[in-house]
Subunit: 264 residues, 2 copies
């Protein structure tokens, strides 16, 4: 994620710094090649820049905010794939800085990936739209941007799990092709293509999606018993258990179902 954003920012003339503390020589060289300045501690980073974007492994999102310390006065943007509650925990360590909640929507490899931002300092981060990013401010509260990302996941991942369950039954009954037609009649002409792509990528990413559903479940449970989110997680778990050794995407959805059956 970080490297896609960096590439865009550098290309558009922004001066970009990264902290390479504990990173491999490969990563350090990559930074140099891409015209990214390197510093060796987060404290030094905080002295150099106006905006810090935290794009790290979800499990260290809070550590990352802590390490920036309390002296940083610029904008600190948490763009990690974590639930709103964890974003809030992380950002409370940014005592003097301008905390911003941000979330990447959809695939980061898509052209001009959409970034949502919230919090009263979101406009500071949105200045980076002048440097090629595609940031949309969606609210004044921390937790809204990451919350929308979680809720979008709740819907899209739930649909994927539902498609798996429904079309696996159809496949076993020999009516899968007919079912695409029948549902497509009301859901629109794109239904079949999009459903097939979701079934195939569920086979391949079930394990990662199961992990992501834990954060989704957490976000939803603030307002209700997340019945569907729980069962979506369980469905991914069931799929992942049997398909854990997949080293490439199946060629088509029937192959995905066949591989899955073999493991039962």
């Amino acid at each position: 994620m970080a490297s896609v954003l960096t590439e865009e920012l550098v290309k558009n003339g922004a001066e970009v710094f990264t902290c390479v503390e504990g990173r491999s020589d490969f990563t350090r060289n990559l930074a140099l090649e891409r015209n990214v300045n390197t510093v060796y501690t987060n404290e030094l980073l905080a002295q150099k820049v106006d905006i810090i974007i935290s794009a790290v492994t979800p499990s260290v999102a809070i550590d990352s905010a802590v390490s920036i310390g309390t002296n940083f006065k610029g904008a600190y943007v948490d763009i990690n794939n974590i639930s709103p509650e964890v974003v809030k925990s992380a950002l409370q360590h940014i005592k003097q800085g301008k905390a911003v909640d941000a979330a990447i929507i959809g695939s980061v490899n898509r052209k001009k990936v959409q970034i949502l931002a919230s919090g009263k300092h979101a406009p500071e981060f949105a200045q980076l739209n002048d440097f090629g990013l595609n940031i949309k401010i969606i609210g004044t509260e921390i937790g809204q941007a990451s919350g929308i990302k979680m809720l979008r996941s709740s819907y899209t991942k739930g649909v994927s799990a539902l498609l798996w369950e429904t079309f696996y039954a159809a496949y076993k009954m020999g009516v899968d092709e007919e079912l695409f037609d029948v549902i497509g009649n009301t859901e629109g002409s794109e239904f079949e293509k999009s459903a097939i792509s979701r079934i195939i990528s569920t086979a391949f990413h079930a394990s990662r999606r199961q992990e992501e559903m834990k954060e989704v479940k957490l976000a939803l449970s603030l307002s209700q018993d997340p019945i569907l989110a729980k069962s979506t997680e369980r469905k991914f778990h069931e799929i992942a258990q049997k398909l854990k050794k997949l080293d490439k995407k199946p060629d088509n959805y029937r192959e995905a179902f066949l591989l899955w059956e073999k493991e039962i």
Copy 2:
């Protein structure tokens, strides 16, 4: 359901009979008004017609087949909203007749409602396309037409339950409108309209949908543990318990959520 099909058939010149055994005077008069011939037992009906369409309360679908008896030699079409296994149980009572599995797809009130038919005698039923019906033969086996109806329900009702859970959370977080936009970006421009309509009708029909999910669950459990179907049923149950006294559709989705909260 029966009256919509009847109207179309009579309008297009078919000679239609119905059995009024045990029906009210109102129903009998309605039949007369609509140029439908009446007989007083299913046995008499079986002597008069070439095609019998069973469109009854799901719980009496099997009794209906039994009462036609073993002497009927025409086409017997089970078009009831029941799972494939129950269709098979009903149709095994049609010893000499030509059994057909049929299913209405979507709302019966839509113009030219789509009817799917399966079984090797489906073409006999499809002759009624000459009398204004819209029948599509989708396979040669009993259980396929009713199966597709169940699987379509699995998907569409699952999506409705998922929309309820996801957008209720969004509503509580104050990001519901943004979420329609963000999901609509990838799901298409019709997403918001269709999602809102599904949330509202879920509030109104939750109890009926919960009942229908029992048949769906049954159909899916032949091939797998229907994790999503079970949780969809539970979600409808949870909604229905709190909204059972609704006597009209809510005006908008926020009203649906508000009414629901009041009952918590």
